[in-house]
């Protein structure tokens, strides 16, 4: 064991060949955060199913559903996967690559819409 690690810090050694020291901060409030996140996810899902049967326009519903899906994804990643409490450098490494996904969505849907219009005109 390397003795010169800071012993005031809580944590553990992984115990494998790397025997890396992993800092650990346990917060007793965690459990109430978990249950709050659960209720938020549940209410959003029930709300989604409920508004699916209202007479709102299809386009408006689609926008609402996609926004709510991203909200749910935020709560799962931030609190269940604990990313909100990880270092910012790690969060950037994980989240920034998804800029490419936004680009892929824009590209694919543009192409698909174009082919769809092509069908309508020439078929």
């Amino acid at each position: 064991m390397s003795e010169h690690h800071n012993h005031e810090m809580h944590g553990y050694y992984t115990g494998d060949i790397h025997n890396q020291f992993v800092p650990e901060h346990y917060d007793p409030k965690n459990r109430s955060v978990i249950w709050k996140t659960f209720w938020i996810l549940l209410f959003i899902t029930i709300g989604e199913v409920a508004i699916a049967f209202t007479s709102l326009s299809k386009e408006l519903l689609m926008v609402i559903f996609i926004v709510l899906t991203i909200v749910k994804a935020y709560f799962i990643v931030a609190f269940f996967m604990h990313l909100k409490h990880e270092k910012l450098s790690l969060a950037y490494c994980i989240l920034l690559p998804f800029i490419l996904i936004v680009y892929l969505i824009a590209m694919s849907l543009t192409e698909a819409n174009y082919l769809n219009v092509w069908d309508l005109i020439f078929k």
């Binding site: 390397s2 010169h4 690690h5 553990y12 992984t14 115990g15 790397h18 890396q20 020291f21 992993v22 800092p23 650990e24 346990y26 965690n30 459990r31 978990i34 249950w35 996140t37 659960f38 996810l41 549940l42 899902t45 029930i46 989604e48 199913v49 699916a52 007479s55 519903l61 689609m62 559903f65 996609i66 709510l68 899906t69 749910k72 994804a73 799962i76 990643v77 609190f79 269940f80 996967m81 990880e86 270092k87 450098s89 790690l90 490494c93 994980i94 690559p97 998804f98 996904i101 892929l104 969505i105 694919s108 849907l109 192409e111 698909a112 819409n113 082919l115 769809n116 069908d119 309508l120």
Partner: protein, 285 residues
């Protein structure tokens, strides 16, 4: 190897990226799990984007999910979204039990970890079973089926298109002998119905080639994406089972930390995360 290790230990109090300490402040195992999940998320994103692209490509003839997934166990009414809503609830619930197991691991409470892991596994099995039931109903199809013309177009019977009755499209009642065209229009002209019937053969259920509910690509994407997701859930359950038996035999209480619970937990939450997107893009929009 030994020399390297010594070197790393000597440098451990130097700058964050100098080696010896984790610049991210997490274990290497958790970091690699995160990077695996990023790559897996890219795979799922590509699949769902491909689904979206083909759906836009065939927007006029794409099936309405509320006409396809309307079953609920022991109930004979058309109940769109009810069963998949229940499946979503089961998966969110098992995500909660998983994160409570991780929390118990931070407290080094072996007994609680075992209980929460056990509940997570039960939730996982319930979800996989629900998905099998959903597939069974989709593959079996409706009692009456649909018609496929020799041009490969699918014409449905009014009773199999409940969304047309509810959505206010048809203010007058749709006659029993009418047909629903691929682009969701009612064909009630008797001669036209007879003409379509004369060039059609009956078809029942969905598979990779035919789909009585509409465009076959809908079935292809449904089977591939929910199948790929279900495979993830199943492998998650297997991994959870292995961890569960390790917890029971005291592997982690002897080791002094429960990092394995955190890693398998990350994977399990990711599976839940993917389902949130599948639920939206297959069932809601």
């Amino acid at each position: 190897m030994a020399a390297e290790a010594t070197l790393n230990n000597e440098n451990s109090n130097s700058k964050a990226w100098g080696g010896g300490v984790s610049p991210f402040g997490i274990s290497w195992g958790k970091m690699m799990m995160w990077f695996f999940l990023v790559s897996d998320a890219f795979t799922f994103s590509s699949l769902i984007i491909a689904y979206g692209a083909f759906r836009h490509r065939h927007a006029q003839v794409w099936p309405t999910a509320n006409d396809v997934f309307t079953h609920f166990p022991f109930v004979h009414d058309h109940l769109p979204l009810a069963y998949v809503g229940l499946m979503t609830f089961i998966l969110i619930m098992s995500s909660v039990t998983m994160v409570l197991a991780v929390d118990a691991g931070h407290r080094r409470d072996n007994r609680s970890v075992a209980i929460w892991m056990g509940l997570t596994i039960i939730g996982g099995f319930m979800f996989v079973g629900s998905q099998a039931w959903e597939w069974y109903n989709f593959i079996t199809g409706t009692p009456k089926g649909a018609l496929i013309t020799n041009m490969g177009e699918f014409y449905r019977f009014p009773e199999n298109a409940p969304s047309l009755h509810e959505g206010g499209h048809a203010h007058t009642a749709i006659p029993d002998w009418a047909l629903i065209s691929p682009d969701h229009k009612v064909i009630s002209d008797k001669a036209e119905v007879e003409r379509i019937k004369s060039i059609s053969k009956p078809i029942k259920g969905a598979n990779l080639v035919n789909n009585e509910y509409g465009h076959p690509l809908f079935a292809d994407f449904f089977f591939f994406i929910t199948g790929f997701h279900g495979f993830h859930v199943f492998s998650g359950v297997v991994i959870n089972l292995i961890i569960f038996f390790n917890v029971l035999s005291g592997v982690y209480s002897r080791r002094g930390h429960y990092e394995h619970i955190e890693k398998t937990g990350l994977y399990w939450h990711f599976v839940d995360l993917v389902w949130v997107f599948v639920f939206t893009f297959f069932y809601l929009v």
